[in-house]
């Protein structure tokens, strides 16, 4: 939870709000719109239309200049693969508006996604992205190349499904919980903080090799996971715009192999209760952040893996026009630093409660409170206060028949106060092109905040995206 402010905005990226809110409403109506049965009565076929009596003749003469996209499917395997795939080409520029001003991002990307049903019981899912950083992009600058490439594979797994069982093997993400603002029970999949909170949704999570088994039963759905070699959160690399050295005199950290078993495993149960849902989770995981301590004997910083156990629960339910969501987790043996960069070990209780409502149009408004409490906290702990809270406000608004979507997100964190404000907008030019404009501003009121190094990160970003 100490890194929670960094993770806050990631879930509310543009597509989430757009799709999660508007599509929800859209779908429910769409399904009702789609029926229009007239009943199975013995009715005659409709008579020929009589133009003179047709009071809606103008609609009958409506001419659509349809140049309709045809399905990509063809009988060949290649055709089928093409029909089940999506390619996204994107270019992004971002500019830092606070001193020192300047271009931060200048990058292009190509993302390939495949969702293919094969051999009746199998399903293959691939989601991989190639990034190209131009020379004046901050990552390109750190490498000193005209063009720097990297590849992120978020998902590459095979799913097998039979009877009441589904199994998945491969690179995948496992995202638990209800909170949009805090990592309460969401302790499995590591995150990508290389760009702090300016990260696109498709890069926000780091896929890791995992086995997952789901059992769908009369007494709820059971889900088990096993990760043989977990990955960890990624942070900005040396030379990039957001890099933070651990100390002035060293940039080297020794990664210790301090645990005998590296694997992660856990189980989740969920079921409907009336118009609500309840979930219970238990897991033994390696914390997605390694603990860093200073070894006085060797004079080195050492990164240690830390095992935590987590027992948690989540719920959601609807009352009138309000959707309530919440979760709670008890986590054992989290580590925190002292001023001497030694380690303290405490249990932590994390919780979140959220309420969401729909506004006229497809607009939505939500409030979320997140709290993290460190048990047996001591004043030696400089990593985190005994209790830390975040208030997250989000408002999604739609214009021009949903072509333009604007999301406002504001996160207030205390007691080491900081305030993050973001406005994200997307404009759908047509079924393939999307243009985006984002504005981000930070305000840090207390220098102990983990966002203090980034307090001058006021940015404006524009993106152009083409999908086919």
């Amino acid at each position: 939870m100490s890194k929670q402010p960094n993770s806050n905005p990631l879930y509310r990226r543009f597509r989430v709000c757009k799709v999660a809110q508007s599509a929800a409403l859209c779908f429910s109506v769409f399904m009702m719109l789609s029926a229009h049965a007239g009943g199975n009565t013995q009715m005659p076929e409709p008579d020929e239309q009589t133009e003179q009596e047709d009071i809606f003749a103008d609609d009958g003469e409506m001419t659509f200049d349809f140049d309709e996209p045809q399905a990509k499917a063809s009988p060949s395997l290649l055709g089928e693969l093409s029909a089940n795939s999506r390619i996204t080409l994107k270019h992004e520029l971002s500019y830092k508006t606070a001193k020192p001003k300047g271009l931060v991002n200048n990058r292009s990307s190509a993302q390939f996604e495949l969702s293919q049903h094969v051999f009746d019981h199998y399903f293959v899912r691939i989601d991989t992205k190639l990034n190209a950083y131009w020379a004046n992009d901050h990552i390109g600058q750190s490498e000193g190349n005209e063009l720097t490439f990297d590849n992120i594979t978020r998902e590459a797994f095979v799913q097998l499904s039979f009877d009441t069982i589904a199994m998945q093997l491969g690179f995948q993400n496992l995202i638990w919980g209800e909170s949009d603002g805090g990592a309460v029970t969401d302790v499995v999949s590591p995150r990508n903080f290389r760009e702090i909170f300016f990260i696109p949704l498709e890069e926000a999570r780091i896929g890791q090799f995992m086995f997952k088994l789901d059992h769908f039963s009369e007494v709820g759905d059971w889900s088990l996971f096993y990760v043989p070699q977990p990955k960890f959160n990624q942070y900005a690399e040396f030379g990039t715009a957001y890099y933070l050295p651990i100390a002035d005199d060293t940039s080297a950290i020794v990664h210790a192999d301090n645990l005998s078993g590296d694997d992660e495993y856990g189980v989740r149960w969920r079921d409907r209760v009336g118009r609500g849902e309840i979930k219970v989770m238990a897991a033994s995981v390696l914390n997605n952040d390694k603990s860093i301590m200073f070894d006085q004997q060797s004079g080195q910083f050492i990164a240690l893996k830390q095992r935590n156990n987590m027992l948690g629960s989540a719920f959601n339910f609807v009352y009138a026009d309000l959707l309530f969501r919440g979760e709670f987790a008890y986590k054992t043996d989290l580590r925190f630093n002292t001023s001497q960069m030694q380690l303290l070990q405490n249990d932590v209780i994390d919780s979140a409660i959220m309420v969401e409502t729909s506004l006229p149009g497809n607009d939505t408004l939500s409030f979320e409170l997140v709290n993290s409490h460190i048990r047996d906290w001591s004043a030696d702990n400089i990593s985190a206060p005994r209790n830390s809270q975040s208030l997250i406000l989000s408002w999604n608004s739609f214009y021009f028949n949903d072509d333009l979507q604007i999301n406002w997100l504001s996160i207030w964190a205390e007691p080491w106060a900081s305030w993050v404000n973001s406005i994200r907008s997307n404009f759908k030019v047509d079924d393939h092109w999307t243009l985006s404009l984002d504005l981000h501003a930070l305000s840090v009121k207390d220098n102990r905040s983990s966002l203090t190094p980034y307090k001058d990160q006021k940015q404006i970003a524009i993106r152009a995206q083409y999908q086919f």
Binding site: V19, A37, G39, D67, H117, S161, P360, G361
Partner: protein, 289 residues
């Protein structure tokens, strides 16, 4: 069971040509719209464009936007729900792969429950639903507002008045005026609906939606066919006369009363992709072009 219901329905409808009150007519319309099948599977295409008059005809002024959805719906009481449905988006490309599970409730005052799976997010998300207020369906002229939708409209939220008889597209129709009740009026921007009800089929061939005294939208339902014993319209057009935009809903593939695995209409279908696709493949074999 279906035969019995059909016989009752036939008997019920056979008296339709006799003098009936508007409320009696609309009771039958409501029955026919919502209970004439147990299950429905359909591929639905929604096409939208702005238009203007060119050479005497109304033509799209920009490339139409297309949404395609595969929908499975069962109208039967599963636990506490009245109907359940699963929709999977295949177009536009930006929304491809998104799937949505909806539970509908018969009980007054209960809105739908919705769960959404987003490939970009990688998890199932519960989302709030609202049956009222005018949000657009995928940017089309079809609205979230259930006032505009005979399938979603709640019978008890309107007062009805028979205002005449007219011929429409060669069919005899009753013209019914629907006025939102006081309670409903607080949640809709429409002041009046006028519907042309086919005297034999008991469903609307067309509807007009008024804001104040101004005609705002016109809905027409054409290409009426009998599919699996159920009459349905393959082409529904919504014309926004205020903004000169039009949307057309086509159902190139549709089937009724086919077996839908109850499990397909649970959250399993949102994350167990192989299971979902296997079941959808089975269903597609039933679809009529």
């Amino acid at each position: 069971m279906r035969i019995t219901i059909t016989a009752l329905l036939l008997s019920f409808l056979s008296s339709g040509v006799m003098a009936q009150s508007a409320k009696e007519i609309m009771t039958k319309v409501d029955y026919v719209n919502r209970k004439s099948y147990d299950t429905q599977i359909a591929k639905i295409k929604l096409t939208t464009c702005p238009y203007r008059l060119i050479d005497g005809k109304q033509r799209c002024t920009s490339r139409p936007r297309v949404v395609i959805i595969e929908n499975s719906k069962a109208i039967k009481n599963l636990e506490d729900t009245h109907a359940r449905s699963l929709a999977v988006v295949s177009a536009p490309i930006s929304d491809k792969g998104i799937s949505m599970l909806t539970f509908e409730y018969e009980k007054r005052g209960l809105e739908n429950d919705n769960w959404l799976y987003l490939t970009a997010l990688g998890k199932v998300k519960r989302v709030i639903s609202s049956g009222d207020d005018a949000g657009t369906v995928f940017g089309s002229e079809f609205s979230v507002e259930n006032t505009e939708n005979p399938e979603a409209r709640r019978f008890w939220e309107y007062d009805y008045k028979l205002i005449g008889d007219e011929k429409m597209r060669g069919r005899d129709t009753w013209v019914i005026e629907m006025i939102p009740t006081k309670e409903k009026a607080e949640r809709t921007r429409y002041t009046k609906i006028v519907a042309w009800i086919d005297k034999e089929k008991y469903f609307a061939l067309a509807e007009e939606y008024y804001r104040g005294n101004q005609l705002h939208k016109r809905r027409t339902q054409e290409d009426i066919e009998k599919i699996d014993g159920v009459w349905m319209s393959r082409k529904v057009t919504m014309n926004n006369l205020t903004e000169n935009r039009v949307s057309r809903m086509d159902k190139p593939f549709i089937a009724f009363n086919v077996d839908i695995d109850d499990e397909l209409l649970t959250q399993r279908a949102l994350t167990d992709f192989a299971f979902r696709e296997r079941n959808l493949e089975k269903q597609r074999k039933h679809m009529q072009e």
